[in-house]
Symmetry: C2
Subunit: 243 residues, 2 copies
């Protein structure tokens, strides 16, 4: 846990309110509950386990800053990363009573979270916050299905492009991408464990994409050269596939 300066706290509050209000204005009582949650925001350092596999999902948290991931580790140490949790996403939100976590969630960077029981409360409501809560869950499901397709039926290059495009779409949605580029705080090892590849192969695939001028990077920043070309290469559609 860590101190945030005042400016940062203000920024994160505004971010949260913008994200939660994406589907429409909140009701007064929802607003109140959101405000209360935001007052409790906390910061955790990279590597912290935010939710353990099998834990009860009863206290949704809104991720305000930083990245987290959902993962599982096999007996022999192999690891699979299921998904990434980005700012504006919820952790521990579940549409079922007594839901349990199917995998553990770890902070990938320093993260700031705020308890957001209002999300759970709104889940079955007809309000904008309710739609948002359900949209978060349904996106999560969609992303998992898309990930299965990548792992099961796509080449290394397609997997990588598909994942990068998905991350871009999601970050763009909350204002964290500019013109195809965004901060990607993942080691190649984490990326590999998400994509089901070896680190060496991930490295080479990334380099090939750079050589082909399809992506560029400096430090943690990555930039996707031509979204529509990339989307075509990986059979990627930014929106749910029906529609």
């Amino acid at each position: 846990m860590n101190r945030l300066d005042k400016m940062e706290i203000v920024r994160l509050r505004e971010f949260a309110i913008a994200v939660l209000g994406r589907q429409g204005p909140l009701t007064p009582s929802e607003s109140e509950a959101v405000r209360a949650g935001l007052a409790e925001m906390q910061t955790f350092s990279a590597g912290t386990e935010l939710i353990a596999e099998g834990a009860a999902l009863d206290q949704p948290l809104l991720l305000l800053d930083g990245w987290a991931m959902r993962q599982r580790v096999l007996k022999d140490g192999r690891r699979q990363v299921f998904s990434f949790v980005l700012p504006g996403d919820a952790i521990g939100l579940c549409a079922r009573r007594n839901g349990l976590a199917a995998c553990s969630t770890l902070a990938l960077t320093q993260v700031t979270l705020a308890p957001m029981p209002a999300l759970a409360a709104a889940l079955h409501a007809g309000t904008a916050l309710g739609s948002l809560a359900r949209a978060l869950l349904s996106q999560e499901e969609t992303f998992l299905y898309n990930h299965v397709v990548r792992l099961g039926r796509q080449s290394a290059q397609e997997r990588l492009i598909g994942l990068l495009l998905e991350l871009h779409t999601r970050l763009d949605q909350v204002g964290l991408a500019q013109d195809g580029s965004f901060s990607l705080p993942l080691t190649q090892e984490v990326l590999s464990d998400a994509l089901g590849l070896s680190v060496v192969h991930t490295n080479r695939t990334l380099q090939q994409l750079k050589r082909d001028h399809l992506i560029a990077s400096q430090g943690n920043n990555i930039s996707l050269a031509d979204l529509s070309v990339l989307a075509d290469m990986a059979d990627y559609s930014p929106l749910p596939r029906h529609r």
Copy 2:
């Protein structure tokens, strides 16, 4: 759609009632609703699309007989099978309002289904049927996560064993496996599309398992020789991994 003889209808009703009552006795009104649903059972032939990708999930159906699968097809024809739907499972059940199907569901064999709105109604109730409905959904989620691990981090042999063990566990749960053996109405092509392998490789992997006397088959029937040896080979645990 197809005619069922009377004996078969009786058998399927009893099967449904046993499955739905697995978590405890139903309330009178639930019983009534279940009975009403069962009166409407229908049969569809193999290949029928039971739910289209993007369709509204508002009418849960209980699968009484036969197998179905959830799948998606890429632009170029590659296919990924996400999961199998076995007797006793629900199709079109969703914990969220206005949920949409993330993939399409197809009948793999001739199937018999009964509308079961009582499952949706019970989702947020404290009754035994409510627990069952939630258990069905949470199992489905668990299976999907397990499948991601298979595709991302396991070898062909591990994937195959893991899937066969999962199918065995699930069929055993509803009385459709005897002593490690069960009916497996899947072509090797479907199996391959689930496991993310080529048909040829699936075929060879299966044969190797047979040569090693780990499995045996005749026709659609498969039999798993030693469940604990197999479980060990594929890092498989029949129950949710926590516990």
